[in-house]
C-alpha cells in the first residue's frame, strides 16, 4: 500500500503518518523521487488501515497495491476450480447451459417449459420462485409453491435446478429444494445473505451487481469462500452505463479478466445482460468465444404470455437452434458442449 502525502506536507506531518502506520503493526518505507513525499507500507494492510490513513489531514491519497481478495485469487489457488452441482460438472471442459423461464408462474406452464428446455438441450433448469421486483405492484413470485413445482420438474426431466434466494430467511427452505442457489445482482452486496450462504452445502451462483466493479464482485465471492462454501460460480449479467438502448451493458471483457484473476468458474447471462431477446443468440456466442464456462439463458414456452421479463426470453425452438451454433464456437475455442 502506497501513501501519497499532500504537496508541501511538513516533516512533522509525515512523521505522524509514519507513526500511524506503525500503530497498525506495519513497517514503513520512504520512497523518494516524486515532488510529493510517498510512503510505502511493508505488508498488505486492508480496508480499515486504508480508511484510517486516508483521513489524515496531510495525506492526499492511499493507493492499494495488492488486490483485496485472497481465497478467490489465482495467487491463492493456481488451478481452476472444477466442482459438481446436481450431477453436472461446472468449470470443466464442457460449457454448461442453464435455461428456463424467469419466473415459475404456475405448475402447468413451468412443467411445459421444463420439458421444452430439456428437449432443447439444457444441462440445468432455472426458474424464479422469489422475484425481486422494482415495483411493489408487480408479481412477486410463488415462493415455496414455486419451489415444489421446480422439484417436480426435476423429477420429470432429470435436470438439476437453480433458483434465486432474496433473503437469509429463505436460505434454508431454498437449499432444501434446489441444487444450485442463485444470488441476484441486487443482492451481490447483501452481506448478511452472503454469510448465510457461505455456510450452506450447496453451490452458489453469484451475479455481478449492476454497479459492481470486478474487484467488488470477487470480494462478494470472498464472503462465500471465507465462510466455508467453495463451490462458487461468478455470473456476469451486464452493468449499468449511460447506454440505455440495451437494458444493461454486458461486460464480456469481464470474462477473460476474472478468469485471469481468479480460479472460479465464470458464467454469462446474455438475457438480463442485454434485455433484448434479439441479442441473446449473438451475445451467447460472444460469451463462449470469450471463454465463459457456462450460460444462463431465459427460455419461455410462450414468452408472449410471460408475467415478467418476457422481453429477454427465447422460445424453445430458438434455444435449440442456438445450442447448435454454440457448439461450433465452443469447438473453435477448444471446449465441448
Amino acid at each position: 500500500m502506497i501513501v501519497v502525502m499532500d504537496f508541501g506536507a511538513s516533516e512533522e506531518e509525515i512523521g505522524e503518518v509514519e507513526e500511524r502506520i506503525k500503530s497498525f503493526g506495519y513497517d514503513v518505507h520512504h520512497f523518494n523521487g516524486e515532488p510529493r513525499a510517498v510512503l510505502g507500507i511493508i505488508g498488505s494492510p486492508g480496508e480499515d488501515t486504508r480508511d484510517a490513513l486516508e483521513v489524515m489531514p496531510s495525506v492526499e491519497r492511499v493507493i492499494p497495491v495488492s488486490l483485496p481478495f485472497i481465497l478467490a485469487s489465482r495467487e491463492f489457488k493456481k488451478d481452476k476450480t472444477i466442482f459438481e452441482a446436481g450431477g453436472v460438472e461446472i468449470g470443466g471442459e464442457k460449457i454448461v447451459l442453464i435455461a428456463g423461464p424467469c419466473a415459475v408462474e404456475g405448475k402447468e406452464p413451468f412443467l411445459r417449459a421444463a420439458e421444452a428446455v430439456k428437449k432443447g438441450g439444457a444441462d440445468i433448469l432455472r426458474g424464479g420462485a422469489y422475484k425481486p421486483r422494482t415495483s411493489p405492484y408487480s408479481f412477486q413470485g410463488l415462493e415455496e409453491e414455486g419451489l415444489k413445482i421446480m422439484a417436480e420438474a426435476r423429477e420429470i426431466t432429470g435436470l438439476p435446478i437453480i433458483t434465486e434466494v432474496t433473503d437469509q430467511h429463505s436460505v434454508e427452505i431454498v437449499a432444501r429444494y434446489v441444487d444450485i442457489i442463485q444470488v441476484g445482482a441486487r443482492n451481490m452486496q447483501n452481506f448478511t445473505l452472503l454469510k448465510e450462504l457461505g455456510q450452506v452445502d450447496k453451490p452458489v451462483l453469484i451475479k455481478r451487481g449492476m454497479a459492481a466493479t470486478i474487484e467488488e464482485w470477487l470480494m462478494a465471492a470472498e464472503y462465500l469462500l471465507s465462510n466455508g462454501n467453495h463451490r462458487v460460480i461468478l455470473c456476469e449479467r451486464g452493468i449499468r452505463t449511460f447506454e440505455t438502448y440495451t437494458r444493461n451493458t454486458l461486460d464480456i471483457s469481464a470474462v477473460p479478466i476474472v478468469k485471469d484473476l481468479s480460479h472460479l468458474p465464470v458464467f454469462v447471462d446474455p438475457s438480463h445482460g442485454t434485455g433484448k431477446w434479439k441479442c441473446v443468440p449473438s451475445m451467447s456466442l460472444a460469451a463462449v468465444a470469450a471463454g465463459a464456462d457456462g450460460l444462463l439463458i431465459e427460455v419461455h414456452p410462450s414468452p408472449k404470455e410471460a408475467l415478467c421479463d418476457g422481453l429477454q426470453s427465447l422460445v424453445p425452438e430458438k434455444f435449440s437452434q442456438l445450442k447448435a451454433s454454440i457448439r461450433g464456437v465452443a469447438q473453435a475455442v477448444g471446449r465441448i458442449l
Copy 2:
C-alpha cells in the same frame, strides 16, 4: 403507455399486439403519422404488461408515459410531507442536521463523539451498529452492543438517534432502540427488508442506491409507503460514475428533481457522496442551497483513529464552523437552522 411496432410490421402482427393489450383489460388507440405503427394504451398498465408486450416479436419498443410511483408522487399528494421523528420536525422550514461517526466503535469514543456532535449543534445523532463492508475481513460492527451504546448516548445528550439496518432479522431489535431507521445504498432494492420496514412504526431514511435512477429510488420509497409506513426520508448519497477522483458523484440536481416529483423530504449525505472530508463543507452548503431538507454528516472526535470511513469525517470543530456557514445559506434560501 405507447407501443412502437417494428418497421414493416404486418396488419396481422399489429392485430396480435392489440389483442394482447386487450387481454390485460385495456383499450387501444391507433396513432398514425409515424413511419412505424404506434399504439397507445388507454390507462396506466404496469411493469408486467410492459414486459409482456416488449417481448412480442413485432414490437420494437414500449414507452411508459406515466411515472410508476403512485403514493410517493406529487400527483397523489400535493403538499409536502412533514412529520416528527424523535421529537424533531422533518420536512418543515428547518434544515435538520444528522451527525455522528460512521461506526460505533466502543462506548467511550462514541459517547465522546455524541457530546461533541451535540455541542456542535446537531439535531439527530447517527452511528453504525451493523456495518455493510465490502471485505469479509473488515470490522463489521458491534451489533446490539452498539445499539445499547447509542441509546445511552441519547440519554446523555437528549438527541434522537438513527442507525442503519442491514437485514430483516434485525429490524425488530433496531426499531426497539432507535428513533429513525436507515436503509443503506446497498439495500435500497432489498425488497424483503423494505416490506418489513413498511410495517414498522418508525420513520425510515432511505439512501439512493449507487446505480439507482431517481425513478427506482422513488419506487423503493413506494415499497415503504404501500406497506403502510408514511414517514419516509429520501437521502441522496452519490451515484457511481466514471469519475473516480471522488468516491461517488454527488447528484445534487436530484434534490430539486425529487422535490418536484414527490412530496417526501429529501436529505443529502455529502460525506459518503464525495468520500473526501475536504469536500464536505462546500457540498453541504450546495445541498442546502439546492433545497435539501437536511444533511447527514460524518463527524468523528478523532477521525485519525476511526475504524472505518474516517476519510470522509469532519472533526467536531469543523462541524461547528460548518453549522455557522450553513445558517447563512439557509437564510438566503428562506430556511432556518
Copy 3:
C-alpha cells in the same frame, strides 16, 4: 413524437402547446387515457421541434418515437452495405483484419511492423501519423512524414493503409496518401471534420465516442452519409463506465444492435476497447462471434519499445496465432477469413 403535459395542465396550456406544434406544420392528435394529457404529433419532427416544445412551461416531457437517423437506417436501405476499400471488400462474407502499430514512430520500425503484419495475415495496415494525446507533453505523431512511411509500407506489402485524421486541415493531405480515413473516438462529434469527410472520395471508419450512445454514433455516420460519402464503417472501441480495471468497457452488444438498426458494416477494436493486450485475443473472438464484420488490432513488432499504447499491442506471433483462432469462430458463425 409524443408530448406529455404536466399533471394538472390547464386546457389553455394544452391549447398553447397544440398551437406551437401546428406552427411547425404538424397535425396534433389527442391521446386520452393517461392521468396526464398526452399529445401525439403526426409526422416526424426533428431535434429543433423537440427542443422548442420541451421548454414550454406546461410540458413535462417530449418522447421521440422515431429514431433520428435516416440514411444510416435499415428502414432507408434494407440490404447491408458492401463496398470496396483499397481493393478489400468491406461488409461482405469475409471478416476483415486491420492491424498494425498505434503510431508510426520511424521508418525502419514501421516497415518491420508492416511486414510482420502482412506475414501474420492482415488485410489492411494501420498506423498513426497524427496522434490525439491527452497530454501536451506526449509524442504527437510524425504527421506527413508518417504518411510517407505508410505509403512506402503499402508499396512493399501490397496492403491498403488506414490512418486517423484529427482535424479538417489535414483531411486533404491524409486523403491523398491513405485508402481509408479513420475518425477517432474523441472526434466522433467533431462535426466540422465530419462534414469535410462527407465530401471526400475515400471510405471513412468512424469510432464510437467514449460517451456516445448508439443513436449518437449513428447520427455521426449520418453526417458523413448526408454529405455524400456512403462508404462508412462503424467501429466499436469501448465506452467509459465506472469499471476501470479495463481502460474502457467494450460494448460487444453494440454489434448486433447496430447491425439490426443500420445497413453499415461494423468493426470492433479490442485493443483500445480493453486497453489490456491479454484481453485482445478473447475479445477478438467474441466480436466475431457477435457478428462483427472486421477487427482493428494493434500489433507492434516490439511492444516493449512502443512510444504509445504499447499496453494493448500484440506481438506479431500472437497476431498470427490469433488469426488461426478467429478462423474457427468465423466458420462457426458462417463467415470466412
Copy 4:
C-alpha cells in the same frame, strides 16, 4: 510512478523491467513487502513511459503517483489566477454571471435578448454563432453573421461577449469579434483546436467533456497554458451517467476539487448541466454555495420560440429574480455579486 509486477514474476523479468525504466533515464527503487514485486521510479515520468512499461509481459499494473498536469496545478502556482476579460474581473471576489440565448437566431431577437440580459444584471453576454448539433438536419448557426450581431449587441449593451468556436479554421475570425472564446464539451479533447487557442490573445472558457475525468479536463487546460495562453476558465457542465432524467449529471463536487488542485477559475453551467430549466435556479445557487467563480446561464427572451436548447433557458424575469437569490448565497459564502 509505481510498477506492480505479475504474481510470480521471475528475477529475470523484474530485471528486464528495471532495464527498461533505466533506458528512459530514471532510477529504480525496489519496494519489498508485498506478495508481488513492486518497483518505484525515481522522478515523474509521463504517459509515454507508462504505456511502454504497462505493455511488458510481466507487468501487472503501472500506478502514476503524480498528477500529470503541471502549469494548471496549485503546486506550480499557489495563488489563484485572476485576470480580466473584456473589462470584467474573472476569478476574483465577485461571482461573474454570463447569460444569453443558446444560439444567435437573428438580429432582432438577439438584440432583444441582449437588452433583457443586461437589464437582468448579467456581466457578460453569451450567444452561439457556430452550433455543434447532433443531427446534420438541425440548425447549425449563423456563423460570421452571428458574430456581427453579437458585436452589435456589445455596442448597445456595453457587455463583453463570449461565443463557442468549433474548429481551428474559425479561431481567427471568432477571436476578432469576441472577448472570450468558448470551447464546448465535445471539443474538450480537440487538441488541434486547443493548440491554436493556446496562441490566441483572448481568454478561453473550456467546458468539461461529458465523459472527461477531472484530470483529463485539467490536461486540456494544460494544452492551452503550455501553448502560452494563461487566461483559462474551467466550466463544469455535467457529465454523462446512467441517470437520464436530467440530460447530464451536474458534478458540483468538481468545483471544490478543481479549486483544490488548480489555481484556475471555475464556472458552472447549470443550464446544460441539467437540461431542465426548472433546475437552473436551484443548481445556480448550489454552484455558488460550492465555491464557483461564475455561472453560465441560458436566458432567452422567448424560450418558447428558441430554435435550440430552449428547454434549459430561463425567461429574463426569472433570471432577474435568480440574481437576487444568488446575491444572498454569495454573501453567505463571502463573495459579492
